[in-house]
């Protein structure tokens, strides 16, 4: 996108995520032509929207649209995608003896969609099934972050009609999207802590003047920019290795910022009167969606050690 077009797109997205969530946000994104932007300029569409979703801690069907499109689904609008259980990035289904067992998660989008795509591991590689949402069993999960509307999805499907899909490729794009959402959450937590540090006076001076506080906040900005820079580079070549690395870094960074922000916000940040808790909750859940940072980081190390070599270096 050109600079003027990008500024307009960005402000439209930000207005939408700041004013609505869920079904209303889906409608607003439609109005803004987000899915057209996804076709025309995928990295911009994804990075701008998902960072904004994180900034405002709101929920939309965008991750499902993105994954459905990446899995070759024609009618991606009314179709949700069953996600892996937390921590994992492998498909949520498994084909065995003519049946497809499903055990995964859905976001709030599952309840709004008519159909669901289930990807399953099969002997010949991953296959996808597009099924009526009603053919799956959904159990609402409250858990740490009820606002995310997570549902546990189980099912037992006829395995005959599966079509081969590139799950790894789709999951990589999903990892980048969730990575941007984590960066949005981290930036917002840093800003909450920064503002508090400037406002809060102790010992006759704002706590922002204390080096212990300043260095925590500086450390947080370094973490955010490291994750953001790696995500941007990953879009040049969204290979599974780069996407997993960027998602792992984003998760670790957002968790680090959550810790620093919680400490700087101290007492007030521990109450539900202050918005921080909502960001912390979502950070901990999204860090685990499509591969937890702890798992992705160890997996990267295992791969490097096994091959005795690093992934290809980023070219200048």
């Amino acid at each position: 996108m050109e600079a003027s077009e990008l500024a307009l797109f960005r402000s439209g997205i930000h207005h939408a995520t700041e004013t609505c969530s869920g079904e209303a946000l889906d409608a607003a994104l439609d109005e803004l032509g987000w899915r057209d932007a996804l076709v025309a300029d995928r990295s911009t569409a994804v990075s701008v929207l998902f960072e904004a979703l994180g900034s405002s801690v709101v929920d939309s069907s965008a991750l499902d649209w993105l994954l459905a499109a990446a899995l070759g689904e024609k009618d991606a609008v009314r179709t949700s995608v069953v996600l892996p259980l937390l921590r994992r990035a492998a498909p949520p289904g498994r084909v065995r003896a003519g049946r497809c067992e499903v055990h995964g998660l859905g976001t709030g989008a599952v309840a709004r969609a008519d159909a669901a795509v289930v990807v399953a591991e099969a002997d010949g590689g991953p296959v996808a099934y597009t099924v009526k949402a009603s053919s799956l069993e959904l159990r609402q999960v409250r858990g740490l972050d009820p606002g995310l509307g997570i549902v546990e999805v189980t099912g037992d499907l006829d395995a005959a009609a599966g079509r081969p899909v590139d799950w790894e490729g789709a999951a990589s794009i999903g990892q980048l999207a969730v990575g941007h959402e984590l960066v949005g959450l981290a930036r917002a937590m840093l800003e909450l802590a920064r503002q508090h540090a400037l406002d809060r006076v102790q010992f006759g001076r704002p706590i922002s003047s204390f080096q212990a506080i300043r260095h925590r906040l500086a450390e947080s900005l370094v973490a955010v920019e490291a994750a953001d820079g790696l995500l941007a580079a990953a879009w040049d070549d969204p290979s599974p290795v780069m996407a997993a690395m960027a998602k792992g870094m984003a998760g670790r960074s957002a968790r680090a910022v959550a810790r620093h922000a919680q400490q700087v916000l101290a007492g007030i940040g521990f109450t539900t009167e202050h918005p921080l808790h909502g960001y912390v909750r979502r950070t901990i859940v999204l860090d685990q969606l499509l591969g937890a940072s702890s798992v992705l980081t160890r997996q990267l190390g295992d791969d490097v050690l096994e091959r005795g070599a690093l992934p290809p270096a980023l070219p200048l």
């Binding site: 204390f210 370094v222 580079a233 190390g301 295992d302």
Partner: protein, 376 residues
């Protein structure tokens, strides 16, 4: 020449001259060997024209983007032909000369630096002036014969090899702080200069103390304005955190890769390796974006402190792993390859100290990028 064509040409030239370019020592070599190797490689790359690319024509260069310089340093480091830190010194010194020296002086001197004919050093730090550069005391007094310099510098890299020095001096009162500083271009063979190398824990005496006793410097060797040296130092620091850091990334990549292939199975924690790899990639992504901003004509500023924090963090994470995976080599290996791991393991301790300490970088980030106001 465009970057892609440059890469092809440089790579082909490096392949063709592989044997002449290679060092004649095993492991890291002595400091004398490293400096000789640096001058040889720079001389060959200058004669072939590559070393002149990315530098302006008025200073003996052949023009073109800074990305060309970034690539040349990256590939020379990746092939282990130069010591990255020494190779990158011109990345800080040459821009200062090009931007602030009288035009004829820059045109005469910069080619000597780029061709490896001369080594230059940078006289900034003093015994009483570490992080607080504005307090420097090395005095320059105006006389009819020229500037008369008296004082002491410390941590001056390669001063014992250097023919020239970019020196920061005090020309105002001490109370004038950053307003009374003047930069000068000094001939290191001037009478009154004494260089004493410092023995450091990593074993190479690359840092020096330099004493100035009534050293006379011609009046036309002032860089920029008299009492305007602070702005030169401030303009130069972002350079220290851009192309030079891209070269450092290439060094870290080579060493991490050598580590994971050399460390015995089971000696490295996979999570630690994963974290260090992510950090290195994140730093490289960030540094590449900085290179591209520089190429687009943007002025670099305080945001490069983030690059500097990232490179130091990555370097120490990687060498912590060296201490684990190659612990016995670092501790008791006396062969040249082990000695090199040991020296570099120890050198990494300084990554959060030199070039603006980790604390100073965080202070800059807090004040300039997060607008947290005064810290008192």
């Amino acid at each position: 020449m465009e970057l892609d064509a440059f890469k092809v040409a440089v790579d082909a030239w490096l392949d063709e001259h592989e044997h002449e370019l290679a060092s004649d020592y095993e492991g890291g070599g002595t400091l004398d060997q490293q400096v000789a190797q640096l001058r040889k490689v720079m001389g060959m790359a200058y004669a072939a024209g590559f070393m002149r690319m990315g530098w302006p024509e008025r200073a003996g260069g052949l023009g073109g983007s800074n990305l060309l310089r970034a690539y040349l340093g990256e590939v020379l480091t990746a092939r282990d032909l130069v010591e990255a830190g020494f190779y990158s010194l011109p990345e800080v010194l040459a821009p200062t000369m090009i931007d602030y020296a009288p035009e004829t002086l820059a045109a005469e001197m910069v080619p000597k630096l780029l061709s490896g004919e001369e080594i230059w050093c940078q006289g900034f730090s003093e015994p009483g002036t570490g992080s607080n550069l504005g307090s420097l005391a090395c005095r320059a007094t105006h006389t009819d014969a020229g500037w008369r310099i008296n004082g002491q510098k410390v941590w001056t890299s390669l001063a014992q090899y250097a023919q020239r020095c970019v020196l920061l001096t005090r020309t105002g009162t001490l109370e004038s702080a950053h307003r009374g500083i003047t930069a000068m271009f000094i001939d290191m063979d001037s009478p009154g200069i004494t260089v004493r190398p410092i023995e450091t824990m990593h074993g190479a005496e690359e840092f020096c103390e330099v004493f100035y006793d009534d050293v006379v410097v011609p009046l036309d060797r002032v860089l920029g304005e008299v009492d305007g040296g602070w702005s030169i130092a401030m303009d130069l620091l972002p350079y220290e955190r851009s192309t030079a850091l891209w070269h450092r990334a290439s060094y870290l990549h080579r060493r991490l890769e050598q580590l994971v292939s050399a460390a015995p199975a089971g000696t490295l924690d996979p999570t630690g390796v994963g974290e260090a790899t992510q950090l290195l990639w994140a730093f490289r992504a960030r540094s590449r974006a900085t290179q591209r901003r520089l190429a687009a004509g943007e002025t670099l500023g305080s945001e490069t402190s983030i690059d500097k924090v990232l490179v130091a963090t990555a370097e120490q994470a990687i060498f912590e792993l060296v201490g684990e995976g190659l612990g016995p080599e670092v501790a008791t290996g006396d062969d040249p390859v082990s000695a090199r791991w040991r020296a570099e393991f120890l050198y990494s301790r300084a990554a959060t100290i030199y070039g603006g300490s980790a604390e100073i970088q965080r202070n800059i980030i807090a004040r300039r990028l997060l607008a947290l106001g005064d810290d008192r």
